[in-house]
Symmetry: C2
Subunit: 333 residues, 2 copies
């Protein structure tokens, strides 16, 4: 096996020796905030202030986080995620009337732009020079670009879509906390839709290699610490009144249900959306604390091939449940 858990006897530093996962607050003390943190705070505040009363707002996290292996970063561990779920869901939430804060990994898919993000194509592949020498969108793309551009401009200029970008795990966590604390003021009107693929392991900055790791001496062993689970403080301290939806992606089907239920029990939030890597585009299961059975949402392979996004059904279902929570909260008061 090339992969395995460390044994205590292999520990090589006090940090690794302890075996225990650090406290989330300790994580923030030991890591540097991203350069866009202050901007994100101000922009989110302004974004929320301009929304009408009882506007529902969703924070969507999308894409993978990187974990640097060196302080002068040449290498990093990344999570597979293009941001398809998040970017597509953002479009659906906007269509349902939500204001959307889109916290996304740089270079991952963005709402509306995602249709023009074929990884082997650049901007110029969508354009051509007319016989008169004018730049125009190629005829086969023209209608679609026009429609998407109209929506994109309407939502961005209309103050319904705010985009905030991250790259590393650390960037992501600082930004998540910052935005969460601001959203908390909305209480149940705010939904969290935590679709980002967040790394489970990291190398703490202070024990990281300063320079590029050298090859030439044989094999390499990387010891990584477990990332503290931030869903705990998010649900309990940062945004306790909000509607929180987390995701669980697995490749082993036997782990999917148990892990989703465990997360609900441990963190006490509203919904876990469970999905398998290979079938995530046409099958997702909603787990809640209220029921032992999962609520299945699925589309057929034919619908998928015809261009239907499962996120449409998923977001409609979540919106319905979110409205219920808002109603119930009003009744409780």
């Amino acid at each position: 096996m090339g992969l395995g858990k460390t044994h205590p006897s292999e520990a090589v530093s006090p940090c690794v020796e302890s075996r225990s996962v650090i406290d989330p607050d300790t994580y923030f003390d030991h890591n540097q905030p991203p350069s866009n943190l202050q901007w994100a705070h101000t922009a989110t505040q302004a974004f929320l202030q301009q929304q009408p009363a009882s506007q529902r707002v969703v924070l969507i996290t999308s894409g993978g986080t990187t974990v640097p292996l060196e302080n002068n970063t040449v290498r990093f561990v990344d999570n597979f995620s293009q941001g398809t779920r998040g970017s597509c869901s953002a479009e659906q939430f906007l269509a349902m009337g939500y204001a959307v804060i889109f916290l996304y990994r740089e270079k991952s898919l963005q709402p509306f732009n995602r249709h023009y993000s074929d990884s082997t194509k650049g901007l110029l592949s969508y354009l051509e020079l007319s016989p008169e020498g004018e730049v125009r969108v190629k005829p086969e793309w023209a209608d679609r670009v026009k429609a998407d551009l109209g929506l994109y401009q309407r939502y961005v200029e209309g103050g319904k879509l705010l985009m905030i970008n991250f790259t590393t795990l650390s960037d992501y966590l600082f930004l998540l906390r910052e935005v969460s604390l601001l959203l908390a003021h909305l209480g149940p009107l705010a939904m969290f839709y935590l679709a980002a693929a967040v790394s489970d392991f990291f190398i703490p900055s202070h024990i990281m290699s300063e320079h590029k790791i050298q090859s030439g001496n044989g094999d390499l062993t990387l010891r990584m610490n477990q990332v503290p689970k931030f869903l705990g403080p998010l649900v309990k301290n940062w945004a306790p009144e909000c509607f929180i939806v987390s995701f669980k992606l697995e490749t082993d089907p036997l782990l999917l249900g148990p892990k989703a239920k465990y997360a609900l029990k441990k963190y006490g939030h509203q919904i876990v959306i469970a999905n398998m890597l290979n079938t995530r585009k046409f099958q997702v299961w909603l787990f809640t604390r209220e029921s032992d059975d999962a609520f299945l949402i699925q589309i057929t392979k034919e619908q998928l091939d015809a261009g239907r996004d499962i996120e449409q059904d998923l977001v409609e279902e979540l919106s319905k449940r979110h409205l219920q929570l808002i109603e119930n909260t009003k009744l409780d008061v």
Copy 2:
């Protein structure tokens, strides 16, 4: 220390136990070729056949390679590289009259398109709806897009630019070998410009974790094997008559010169371009076997800020030396 070499007592499989780096041929036996290998072979062959006699051709490799940590890949190790050096150099080589095969990492920068690849912007950010409701390029981008689109179309349609994409280390190595064997027929007319950031370590597929690595049990230890050095077989067996330029990127200045000289001595190719992570955009050093001193190419910070690319000077210098090699080869015959 979170990073360290394994000790023999920690070895957990025969592969890791051996300590030795596997043979390049063994690597190909143990890994799957990428799905675009046959296409790349045919496309390269057709591309080369349509070139005029004595056309100089350069293979540029660009961007980083990924190394999967799981067979059902959720996580992977990546190398920091946007592909700036490679994509910018491709434009310069085309301008110097070369035919360019651009072997690049998906989503990394591409020639001409690179100017519209701001990682926080999508296609729609460059477009607007005119008062008449027509899609057009925003005025501030219009001239530049028109110029780049003209060049891009001319080179692609004129058969001077072939793009081949890869993602993983394994994809890259299979494609490199395939294209190299075809380019070898050109002898000294072919240049290799190996700017890709290739991983030094990998986890062999047969000892990789089948499913997503689970967190929740504490720390994670990853044992990675060293990737065999493919510059050896490239120089010696795949393309022995060609003009080969490799790169050495470091963050520790004390290692830069010694490592560049060591590579030249070990592999016996023509040029190593040495550069530091932090100054690579305005300083590069050319090392050759003929001289103990490096040939410095640099631009000022002011030139850089004014939009000058050091690749212009670098490619001019390489083109000159390439012509010399071609001339010398003719004299030798």
